[in-house]
């Protein structure tokens, strides 16, 4: 590797990391938080079997799991202005990401809730608990524990998916890399470098996952 390439790698590192810290991480965290909220509501509606709302939720999950995230981003950012809805790039990205995460995570959470053994639910009823008490004290604590690995899958997936926001003019890490690559004619080194930064972010999440799982185990919940 020539000295020039090494110099480009070093000089561009902070230029990449900065949008990573300013865009990639907040985009991921905010979208995942909102997505989780959507997921809990969606899963609850489907399990509680609330008529029309349940069908709406099924439709939502079907659509957002069945279409590419890139298409969803394009519809929200480039498509909606046609019917008078103009959104800035960042809100567009957050909406698309959280709806997408919500659809996937709602299935994870729904599955975990359903996998809490029926016997414990009967036991809770037999001691006189209400549906709400049963959910709060027995079902949700166990469902959340069970869904941790799958939810971290979604979380880690989202870190990388935020690079798609480059397509709707968000100057996140990947877009900045593209610009530097175009200016320096060193795509190989630079794309490997940006991949490495994503890898570091995801590795941090892997450790967070281990920590969270351990914490749940200690409490036995």
């Amino acid at each position: 590797m020539s000295e020039k390439v090494i110099e480009i790698i070093f000089s561009s590192f902070w230029k990449m990391l900065l949008p990573g810290i300013v865009y990639t991480i907040p985009l991921t965290v905010v979208s995942f938080g909102l997505g989780l909220l959507i997921a809990i509501v969606t899963a609850s509606i489907r399990i509680a079997n609330i008529k029309i709302l349940k069908q709406f939720c099924q439709f939502y999950v079907w659509v957002f799991r069945g279409t590419p995230l890139l298409v969803q981003l394009f519809i929200i950012f480039y498509g909606l202005p046609n019917i008078g809805i103009l959104l800035d790039p960042i809100p567009s990205a957050i909406i698309a990401f959280s709806l997408n995460v919500g659809a996937y995570a709602s299935e994870t959470i729904r599955g975990s809730i359903l996998s809490v053994p029926k016997g414990q639910i009967e036991a809770a009823y037999s001691v006189g608990m209400t549906y709400f008490q049963l959910m709060i004290h027995i079902v949700l604590p166990q469902a959340i524990k069970m869904s941790v690995p799958a939810l971290f899958n979604t979380f880690i997936g989202l870190v990388k998916d935020t690079s798609l926001a480059a397509n709707i003019t968000v100057s996140e890490m990947f877009m900045v890399t593209q610009r530097i690559a175009a200016a320096t004619y060193e795509p190989l080194a630079l794309y490997i470098e940006v991949g490495f930064i994503y890898l570091v972010f995801c590795t941090a999440l892997t450790y967070l996952q281990k920590y969270v799982e351990k914490k749940f185990d200690l409490k036995g919940e």
């Binding site: 009967e122 001691v127 608990m129 008490q133």
Partner: protein, 245 residues
């Protein structure tokens, strides 16, 4: 204490309980025996409304329900005047032993935490598991889990405790420790209904035995009499193998 009138329950086209009428006295221990599929467990589960019968009336202590006029409050009232011990123990896996007993007390009965813990510890001592109070269910043997489940039921001070085949899922060598605990409960004048396949236990511990077949009460009477000298042909048939041993 418990009155059951014309209780009827079907699953689809299958009549599981056909007009059951029964009185259970306060402090009595009633054992229900019968072949699988005879409706024993369903009957028990209708008493605390884990199954909802189509017709009939049940009175338990202060509370009364008519199957055709049920509402949410009735479900809670009836369930709060009963407690159940299940075949599969069904302890709350996310709570340790002591929490399994105190949670229903603090959440359902609104008893202060401190008082609940005292009650729980007393009962754990009685079932011989005080030293395991901080264990989680998965760290206990089946027999130990079932003894915790019995303590959980006792803590609620219900009008009646319903045992649904409490020893059927246990290894043979663990059955006795659970039966010993149930025996103590039965002797304490707590109204007890127990569905069981342990014939000698029913004979020795119960006051009365009820033999059920195909959703009907075939025979009911003094425990020793029904088990050792049944009147009905069907009961004799069912008990034949036990009597021969």
């Amino acid at each position: 204490m418990i009155t059951v009138k014309n209780l009827y329950k079907s699953f689809g086209h299958l009549d599981v309980l056909k007009n059951i009428n029964l009185d259970i006295n306060e402090g009595e221990t009633l054992a229900i025996i019968g072949p699988s599929g005879s409706g024993k467990s369903t009957f028990l589960r209708c008493l605390n409304l884990l199954e909802v019968p189509q017709k009939g009336e049940v009175t338990i202590g202060q509370h009364h329900y008519n199957a055709q006029k049920l509402d949410k409050k009735k479900f809670l009232d009836i369930r709060r005047s009963t407690a159940m011990v299940f075949q599969g123990y069904h302890l709350f896996e996310n709570k340790n032993v002591i929490k399994n007993i105190t949670l229903p007390l603090t959440v359902v009965k609104k008893i202060p935490e401190k008082e609940a813990v005292q009650t729980a510890e007393k009962l754990l001592e009685r079932v011989g598991l005080l030293d395991k109070k901080n264990y989680y269910p998965s760290q206990l043997s089946g027999g130990q889990q079932q003894r915790v489940a019995i303590a959980r039921a006792l803590a609620l001070k219900p009008d009646v405790i319903l045992f649904d085949e409490p020893t059927s899922a246990l290894d043979p060598e663990l059955v006795q420790e659970v039966l010993d605990v149930i025996k103590k409960v039965a002797q304490d004048n707590i109204t007890t209904v127990i569905v069981t396949h342990e014939m000698s236990f029913a004979r020795d511990v119960a006051d009365r035995v009820l033999f059920m077949d195909k959703g009907e009460i075939v025979e009911i009477g003094d425990a020793r009499q029904v088990i050792t000298q049944p009147h009905q042909e069907r009961t004799k048939q069912f008990l034949q193998r036990f009597l021969e041993n």
